[in-house]
């Protein structure tokens, strides 16, 4: 292990210790902060959100041995301060020619739709019906419909929202796997 690596490891240890005395808990906090930084950069319209989040974490890690001794408050807010600087620097840099999102032709859309049909069939009947009722298209009818659906299921509207979201997330994962299998085939 060379000196640079040793310093980095020491700095990283300091960072984890700063986040939490329990190393496992510190690891979870670290992942949470990274995920949220990615979301913040994404919400600021940055296609390179992951790179910027990692740059933020690297800078905080390098300063962690000293900052952790002086800083008072939630470390996440320190990350936020650094993220602001990283963001400002990134917008000042000449615009990188980011690759535009890949064009998706109608065949691919048809494949995605067919995958969705298959994934819907894999859901339990209750979940399939919930998806069909929850994601109706007309907005005005949708609001009343969701209210009534929540009452029928005996749950709060927000609990229904979360349940529908979980099923949707399952469907999305299933569709992605289906598309990947199709590409590999």
């Amino acid at each position: 292990m060379n000196q640079e690596n040793a310093l980095t490891q020491a700095a990283f240890d300091s960072l984890l210790a700063w986040l939490d005395a329990d190393r496992e808990q510190a690891g979870r906090k670290y992942e949470n902060i990274r995920l949220r930084l990615i979301k913040i950069f994404t919400c600021r319209g940055r296609p390179d959100a992951e790179e910027l989040a990692d740059e933020t974490i690297n800078r905080v890690t390098l300063k962690a041995p000293t900052v952790s001794k002086e800083y008072v408050g939630d470390p996440a807010l320190y990350f936020y301060g650094v993220a602001q600087k990283v963001f400002l620097e990134s917008v000042r840099k000449p615009a990188r020619a980011d690759a535009p999102p890949p064009a998706v032709d109608s065949d691919e859309r048809e494949r995605e739709y067919e995958c969705l049909e298959r994934c819907m069939e894999r859901l339990s009947q209750g979940n399939r019906e919930l998806v069909l009722e929850y994601y109706q298209n007309e907005k005005r009818a949708r609001i009343n419909h969701r209210k009534e659906l929540a009452e029928r299921l005996g749950i709060a509207q927000n609990a229904l929202r979360i349940r529908a979201h979980r099923i949707r997330a399952t469907l999305q994962r299933c569709v992605r796997a289906c598309l990947e299998q199709g590409l590999a085939a």
Partner: protein, 265 residues
């Protein structure tokens, strides 16, 4: 975590990149320090995407969605999925006869409705004022009808194209017919030749799927024993690849779908 209407509105403005710097920082700090906030943001993202897909966003928000929100490939993927889900649910609801949508109608308001309020106001006015108001109203309605009269003439110059159903898709080697639209063409009339199994259907439904992913239902302009025809205004066809999806529903409710491919050069 449940947000009130104001907080939810703020979150939506944040997603569209439309908050003041101060408000943006408040939201972002919350995102970093509140353990439940990320889940709420993800739910709101989904709802924003769904509103875009169902065309429930204002023109301004639609523009912000396209320019700001759709900044990453992941969000493009989410949008594609939302479109597929919307298509699936609307198709399933339609197939079920729209019973669900009709089952939930809003309750009537508890107080006097606008007609009752108007009647009370009207009865309180003098005879002369009522007569003058009625004349003005008739003139306004006549003017509105005159202005809103249909001015678009049906297409006169067609380019015609006959397509046969394809097995598989472009990636699997299916060939797309090519067509070019001269500047004076009003519309493209396409005859979709029916494969044997779809010829005895009771009804047909046709969707146009463009290369950008937009899916638009088309009105069936004509049908006979061998083909179904649709007319697409030339203004709706930019250069690119398209698919037509024909759903043929038999009298017993069974459905068969076939695809057709064409490219506008």
């Amino acid at each position: 975590m449940t947000l009130n209407a104001e907080e939810r509105n703020e979150l939506r403005l944040y997603l569209l990149g439309n908050l003041t710097q101060e408000a943006q920082q408040r939201v972002e700090q919350c995102l970093l320090t509140d353990p439940d906030f990320l889940a709420e943001l993800i739910l709101d993202e989904e709802e924003l995407i769904d509103d875009y897909v169902s065309e429930d966003l204002s023109d301004e928000d639609r523009l912000k969605f396209e320019r700001h929100f759709l900044s990453t490939p992941e969000r493009h993927r989410q949008l594609r999925f939302a479109r597929a889900l919307s298509r699936y649910t609307s198709y399933s609801t339609e197939k079920a006869g729209g019973k669900e949508a009709r089952a939930y109608t809003p309750a009537p308001p508890a107080g006097p409705n606008w007609a009752e309020r108007f009647r009370a106001f009207w009865n309180g006015q003098t005879w002369a004022l009522r007569a003058a108001s009625a004349l003005v109203l008739v003139a306004v309605i006549a003017g509105a009808l005159w202005l809103s009269r249909p001015r678009t003439s049906p297409p006169k110059t067609f380019v015609t194209l006959t397509l046969t159903a394809v097995a598989g898709n472009r990636a699997e080697g299916a060939q797309a017919s090519k067509v070019s639209l001269p500047p004076n063409a009003d519309a493209l009339r396409i005859s979709l030749l029916l494969p044997d199994a779809a010829t005895k259907a009771a009804s047909y439904r046709v969707e146009l799927v463009s290369g950008s992913g937009e899916i638009k239902p088309l009105e069936v302009a004509g049908q006979d024993a061998r083909s179904v025809s649709v007319v697409i205004p030339a203004a709706r066809l930019a250069r690119g690849s398209y698919a037509l999806r024909l759903s043929a529903t038999g009298a017993d409710g069974t459905e068969r779908r076939v695809g057709y491919l064409f490219t506008v050069e």
